[in-house]
Symmetry: C2
Subunit: 414 residues, 2 copies
Amino acid sequence: MITSGMSLAQTNPTQVVEDFKVSSTTQSGKQYPQVNSEGRVRTSILAPQALKVQIDIGAKKYDMVKDEKGVWTGESAPQDEGFHYYQLNIDGASVPDPGSLYFYGASRAGSGIEIPAKDQDFYANRNVPHGQLIETHYFSTTTKSVRRVYIYTPPGYDKSKKKRYPVLYLQHGMGEDETGWGAQGRANLIMDNLIAEGKITPFIIVMENGSVNFGGGPRTPRPATGAPAQGGAPGQAAQGQVAQQGPPAQAAAQGQAAPQDTTRRRPGGGMGGMNVAGQFERILFDDLIPYVESNYRVIGDQAHRAMAGLSMGGMQTKAIAIANPDKFSYLGLFSGGTIAPSEIKDLESFKKKTKVVFMSFGGREGGSSRIAGVADEWNKAGIKGVSYVSPLTAHEWQSWRRSLNEFAQLIFKN
Amino acid sequence: MITSGMSLAQTNPTQVVEDFKVSSTTQSGKQYPQVNSEGRVRTSILAPQALKVQIDIGAKKYDMVKDEKGVWTGESAPQDEGFHYYQLNIDGASVPDPGSLYFYGASRAGSGIEIPAKDQDFYANRNVPHGQLIETHYFSTTTKSVRRVYIYTPPGYDKSKKKRYPVLYLQHGMGEDETGWGAQGRANLIMDNLIAEGKITPFIIVMENGSVNFGGGPRTPRPATGAPAQGGAPGQAAQGQVAQQGPPAQAAAQGQAAPQDTTRRRPGGGMGGMNVAGQFERILFDDLIPYVESNYRVIGDQAHRAMAGLSMGGMQTKAIAIANPDKFSYLGLFSGGTIAPSEIKDLESFKKKTKVVFMSFGGREGGSSRIAGVADEWNKAGIKGVSYVSPLTAHEWQSWRRSLNEFAQLIFKN
């Protein structure tokens, strides 16, 4: 099937290593997509009448080659270890690869692929006690709609009827939603493994949708039906009713990202002067935290409350923490810029309640050279500052999985 | 954009009603797919170089029409109310619609669409207290792998620390998996609404993957890595490691269904003489029930244990209940054939423990005319027999949502 692909590869200076295996994010029973030891993605699709078929990954398109049966096959250049969004292009149509699993990110539900990593054991689905990844719904007085939230509870949560836990509010990036940290981030598996190894104080994680109206951004009138602004996610129907025609509230914001791994091309975010916290700050304090604290066994004080996020979620963490210095004791910005002591109005007061400020970047991101210095500023100011640089990764989920793995080991220790 | 589609429609004897609205299963921010008041599905895709683009739904393909900008638009014939799998065909390639949400069924993750139904309020996401749809993992000694399971717990489960609940083991159909009842079936929302209206005794639902080795079917050697045979599902990565090359264990079984709404074309199942319970029976009794009973607050006796399933899941319910008459008190077969008193070896003993036998079909399925008579046989034999026919639906999720809604009101009442 791949003879013509082979001959093409042989004309290239770089030989493709022929040890492709079905990916862990390939659908059950499907033979493609596959990944080789170099991190190349190879996929294959029957499209007998098509004129041109490409794999679109990492902001590059790679031509596939057709065989005599009408099956197109081709592969990408080597990709970084970890998770990547991608798609196929068939005669000008950008579509998901019918062989892959689907994930919500880059402002669309679509294909994702896992490149095996040397350190993948920390997010593998191992035979250890497993916590719960809970999908539930609550009514937000801010948006006047039923909103979906994901909550991770540690192994044993349902057995210990009295024990209460610290809680981390953990945010996704732009163009992603509340499913991201569970599906692409594997946050639940990272936690299960850390807990099994006794490396962390077990805590609850709350994951909601931060892609709501931004204070300084364009506003689209909300539909009158009360349908939630957050869209559905892979495999989840959004509402029993048909949504009103017209873009939902966050469409304007999401529309800025094309359906590709665009985040790689915009290290630092490009959020300009927008008030990134915006409506989400009200949802968080007026609706979400009260809901969580009255429905889950969390310890509802600042000392046992953390906030972190990736990219836009890190910027939201910063904006919300600065505006609300009495709410969180641990802050994490994953590829989300820096927060420095000079940005805090009342540093002496901040110092009494804030225990750790954590900043990370992928080693291939520009910001990675700046965070060690800023972390030092925190240490000098009397608050523990920690920086982390993820080796050989960019603005992508492998950086954020590793960041969560590091951050989790630092918080709720005292 | 749809001018050419319009003129095509006008040449048809049937006029298409132009009241299309964005579907509830359309991705946030996308304008297509849409549905009109007739239940027609209209979608649209940019494919400038394509020669032919079709919507493939309900086992029929509908030609789409290209405009001068290279955007293809077209619509299907009216579909039944409720949920349907579908896909696009671009120059011979069958691919998901990039505008829709994705669901696992018909042996693939792919597009699904919701046609608004007159009775949709019973599965709508309403402002009522919501239970939890929990994703968790446990180790199966039968498959020697970590398996994923979904568990619904009613509102207040985490607050009442002592209350124990009855439990329903609820199975999907062929080519589907453990995500089906939550995503397409909306089982959690059906339960939340029934509980809010005081119509049922609150209970827990356990949803696992029944598509494992069938006793009488072909067996493919399991990979030696211990990777789970059940594949991933929409939005969920399966394993941190790369699966071994070659089809997973259930590929042979799943391969029988093409990636379409094939279930419609096979009312009654077509499982032949296969032992449909197979390995799942061992998983259920050796691994799953013990796991659930030791980790969730269920009442672990026959009187508080029910089993039901759709299509293949109904056949599994029947096979397992007949072979294990001491395990379940309530049985539900949704489009899964019939179970008659004559099929029970020791009817007198069965009668003491079995409270309700429920059988349902969509009104457009052949089996719908048979179940009332079989229910009567149960009533005459001294066990409550109930039949239900879903109006104007076929072998599809709307029949099964309604069946769950009916069945839930009959069980755990005494």
